[in-house]
């Protein structure tokens, strides 16, 4: 009932906001959340195409993406906690352990 281009436009806008967050913010938690937003935008496109083609495979793929996003969030947050213990900061500009 919803034309496909509308959904794709919304998905692109959401992905764009995720890119905006990753490129412009310095708080590492906000960065990780922006990555989640990008994964979600991709899921939205997958589900829209799945609906338009009447093929459930797109939804199965979106399901796998959600599980991978959960694993990514768990590992990413663990790394953030470990880095915070060491450096006492969540600013990505200050986290330069691998640079030197």
């Amino acid at each position: 009932m919803i034309p496909l281009p509308h959904v794709i436009v919304l998905s692109a806008l959401l992905f764009m906001l995720g890119v905006f967050g990753v490129l412009l913010r310095r708080n590492v938690l906000v960065l990780l959340m922006s990555v989640e937003v990008q994964l979600n935008a991709a899921n939205l496109a997958l589900i829209a195409f799945s609906r338009a083609r009447q093929d459930v495979h797109g939804q199965a793929l979106a399901f796998l993406v959600i599980a991978v996003a959960a694993a990514e969030a768990a590992v990413g947050l663990a790394i953030i906690v470990a880095v915070f213990r060491q450096k006492k900061t969540t600013d990505v500009d200050e986290i330069t352990l691998l640079k030197h």
């Binding site: 919304l10 939205l44 459930v56 939804q59 796998l64 947050l77 663990a78």
Partner: protein, 290 residues
């Protein structure tokens, strides 16, 4: 918080809106079988709506309503409005997260955005994924973020200065590029492309059963038992590795050992700066138990 409340209210409104219309459509289709455009549902309004004359909405099948001017059945625009209301909420919540100065406020507005996306999934006939979206994304992952933010207990105000002009210019350029590309795409594609409506999906599309059948049995393609079986099992392995990896990385002992290593390599005067006493003490207690 306001976004979340609005999403919940809209969700209930959507459910009450959708369910009576489905029931009414079913009775209408049963009462007027000749008028129900069963074969013409793939056809959008711009390409030529099914030429069914009608007087009231009850004369048309479920997703179609009676156009007051032309007295023909045309697709209902209510789902599209609903879609853009949810879409606006999702965009607003995401924008709130990206622009928020406090991480907790950002997490809460992102929960609202994810809940709004779950509403869009329902509108797109993906009810199982909508439930998963609320449970896993808005529930589990965002709660994990809240836990970590509370654990770090850090009010860090991030000033929007121009320290990294290059990166920010790149971000603005990327956004401008995508907006320009989208505008060009929308302006150049024919008008009919917006109004082509996908046909009604089969019963149970996007439910637990249909998604589960694709995931586990692969009946839809006749590919046997192996369509998503290996990816699914690999996914369980990924989750296991993520759990173990998160535990190993975030264990207090790891930071303590790293601090000891830096203290050994550094001159003895700088020893006290990197070791926090309480955390190290509990880590020692835990390790002696383990």
């Amino acid at each position: 918080l306001a976004v979340t409340v609005a999403v919940v209210g809209l969700g209930t409104a959507a459910i009450t809106l959708i369910h009576p219309s489905e029931a009414a459509g079913a009775t209408a289709a049963a009462a007027v079988p000749a008028a129900a455009p069963t074969t013409g549902q793939m056809v959008g309004s711009a390409i030529g709506a099914p030429a069914v004359s009608c007087r009231a909405d009850a004369d048309c099948a479920s997703p179609f309503v009676c156009d007051a001017g032309t007295h023909t059945c045309r697709p209902s625009r209510a789902p599209l409005w609903m879609f853009w209301i949810f879409g606006a909420l999702a965009l607003a919540g995401t924008l709130g997260m990206v622009l928020s100065q406090k991480p907790v406020a950002g997490v809460l507005s992102l929960v609202g955005a994810f809940a709004a996306q779950a509403g869009i999934y329902v509108l797109l006939d993906a009810s199982f994924l909508a439930a998963i979206q609320v449970l896993v994304y808005a529930g589990a992952i965002m709660v994990l973020f809240v836990f970590v933010i509370m654990l770090l207990n850090r009010e860090e105000r991030e000033d929007w200065d121009l320290r990294q002009v290059g990166t920010k210019a790149l971000g603005v350029f990327a956004i401008a590029y995508i907006v320009a590309y989208l505008a060009f795409y929308l302006a150049s594609s024919p008008r009919a492309a917006y109004t082509v409506l996908p046909g009604a999906p089969p019963d149970g599309f996007g439910g637990v059963e249909s998604v589960g059948q694709v995931l586990f049995s692969g009946q839809t393609t006749g590919g046997g038992m192996t369509d998503y079986l290996v990816p699914f099992e690999l996914l369980s392995l990924v989750l296991l590795v993520a759990i173990v990896g998160a535990l190993v990385v975030a264990r207090p002992g790891a930071a303590r050992r790293a601090a000891r290593a830096t203290a050994q390599s550094a001159p003895p005067g700088s020893q006290a700066t990197s070791s926090d006493t309480a955390g190290a003490a509990t880590a020692v207690a835990k390790e002696s138990h383990g």
